[in-house]
Amino acid sequence: MERENRFWRVALLALPLFVFLALVIWPLLSSFYYSFTNWNGFNSDYDYVGFENFKRIWTDRLFFNAIVNTSIWMAAAILLPTILGLSLALLLDAKVRGSKIFKTIFYLPICLSAIVVGQIWVWIYQPDWGLLNTVIEQITGSRFNYAWLARPDSALYAVIVAWSWQQTGLSMVIYLAGLTSVPSDLLEVCDIEGATPWQKIRQVIIPLLTPSTVVVVALSVINSLKGFDILFIMTGGGPFNSSDTLAMHMYNESFRKYFMGYGSAISVVLFLIALTIIGLYFRQLKKVDDIYG
């Protein structure tokens, strides 16, 4: 009996372990390996080039462009959905009529894939007949055909808006769940002590929602680091690399220019950056746990 149990336990764990090894660990290790070569992606012969690829990163103007864009992208992709999600949750938590419908509406985009979301927003931003410019024309009464996604000034930010539109629903749901666990007697203390609604939110509710914020930010960090597909659909990193993030840059170097070795080096750097961010984050997490755990 006991032995049979063990067999199933091992067997059931073996499959996920295999998938993890095949899809995560193996590519990771091969990236490390190829980052020291000049492989072009299909030829079977390639040379070991030592740290050449990593040295090249230092002289790659586009790499630093991608670092700047990634910083903007991540900062916005973490802040916007978090702030908007929290605001919506606070608004919809009040037992007002119709709040259930709104909750559903704001959550819906989460059910769509990034590809679909990207396509929807490509239509919205379409210069001639897109929803956004049409609305602007209606309001101002004059012709307006700004190409949001084709201008270096606006492309990255236009994608950020689309991205936030989707992610806000997720953080809203997490915050709504968090709000149900805010003890009502603490809010009653606020009422008796005479806190204004803003003081109540700022000094009590937001700090008490810290465990939810931890989850929201963790998901935003992970999702935004992965956030490649929506950029790929909407701008492909352009125009003129203005929306090129590290992930996008790596893709272009590896699969468009066939510098697989160099692309791997970029992916190694991206991996180390992600590791650092997540490491720092987990250190913060421990402090949160000490207070709320």
């Binding site: 003890p183 007697d185 603490l186 009653e188 203390v189 009422d191 008796i192 002590e193 005479g194 806190a195 204004t196 003081q199 000094q203 009590v204 700090p207 008490l208 810290t210 000490d290 207070i291 709320y292």
Partner: protein, 355 residues
């Protein structure tokens, strides 16, 4: 003039009326304790006074002002919750100074007053800790500190000590009594389940039952002259015994075979219920009431006797000196102190009260 006045207060949650018309005047500086069985509406009443709950009907006055529809923070009162309700993300000092900070009091002033309060409540060494690092008793002292710092006129306590163990409860009870003495002219309204808290802390006890006030009086008044069997059964532990009896004349009552002479005449006649507290029953060779000793509970200084009598189905409890030597199964002669006998109309006694 009364500090807190309640006029015909009613409260319904949906179709169920939980407070059914309460009138009460509470004087300035008074310590009033609300007692009553679970679910009788004590917390609801307190929450209506605080303003956290709206009244369905009636009027609440504080300090001569009608505050029925005034928000909680404008009623100049403080509330201490059973759960302590401390902010987990703030230190002890920040928790105590919370109300002052909300009202933009200067930092130096906050610090000064927090230290003052911490001194009163012996929290000086704990000011930098967070609530998680405190014991239950310390947490409750912080909660009290947060409420006294603003010098409110009225203090509301909802079972503040019921999460503490017995020893700590006794200690905190003394501290609250001391606090009430120190903060002169501060009115305290205190909800509790605990007999001892009610008896020792209260200037006046208000006994609630099913959304109504049964009796208001000093602890001794309620103990010696309960208005009805409910109050008689509720005040005092172990509870008063109720026995079926019959009035023979205005001053004579028959209990089984025994006839007792009452010091005062009673207006009742015929079948009545006789109430006697366990401490007013004596085991004595001269006693005329016969009972069988079923069970003894030795508490050290005293012993509780659980007895059966031929004239009643419900058991009788007596409280005697711990030194008395008895054996279970023995037949005893009991003597009731006639000055401590209460006579109630038989119809008034409901089963819930003898439970």
């Amino acid at each position: 003039m009364a500090q807190v006045t309640l006029k015909n207060i009613k409260k319904s949650f949906g179709p169920t009326e939980v407070i059914k018309g309460v009138d009460l005047d509470i004087q300035q500086g008074e310590f009033v304790v609300f007692v009553g069985p679970s679910g009788c509406g004590k917390s609801t009443m307190l929450r209506m006074i605080s303003g956290l709950e709206d009244v369905s009907a009636g009027q609440i006055g504080i300090d001569g002002r009608d505050v029925t529809h005034v928000s909680p923070s404008k009623r100049d009162l403080a509330m201490v919750f059973q759960s302590y309700a401390l902010f987990p993300h703030l230190t002890v000092a920040e928790n105590i100074g919370f109300g002052l900070k909300l009202h933009k009091t200067p930092k130096a002033e906050i610090n000064r007053r927090v230290e003052e309060v911490a001194k009163t409540l012996q929290l000086e060494a704990l000011l930098d800790r967070t609530p998680r690092q405190l014991s239950g008793g310390q947490r409750q002292r912080v909660a009290i500190g947060r409420s006294i710092i603003r010098n409110p006129k009225v203090f509301l306590f909802d079972e503040p000590l019921s999460n503490l163990d017995a020893a700590l409860r006794g200690k905190m009870r003394l501290e609250i009594a001391r606090l009430h003495k120190e903060l002169k002219d501060v009115t305290m309204i205190y909800v509790t389940h605990d007999q001892v808290e009610a008896m020792t802390l209260a200037d006046r006890i208000v006994v609630f039952n099913q959304g109504r006030i049964e009796q208001v009086g000093t602890p001794m008044e309620l103990y010696h002259t309960p208005a009805n069997p409910f109050v008689a059964g509720f005040i005092g532990a172990p509870a008063m015994n109720f026995l079926p009896a019959e009035m023979l004349s205005e001053q004579q009552v028959r209990l089984g075979e025994t006839v007792l002479d009452l010091p005062q005449s009673s207006a009742l006649s015929g079948a009545v219920t006789l109430g006697i507290r366990p401490e007013h029953i004596e085991v004595s060779d001269g006693g005329e009431i016969m009972a069988t000793l079923d069970l003894m509970e030795k508490l050290g200084s005293e012993t509780l006797l659980h007895l059966t009598t031929p004239f009643s189905d419900s058991p009788l409890t007596a409280r005697v000196d711990g030194a008395v030597e008895l054996t279970e199964g023995q037949t005893l002669r009991l003597k009731f102190n006639p000055n401590a006998v209460h006579i109630f109309a038989a119809s008034e006694v409901r089963p819930a009260m003898t439970a």
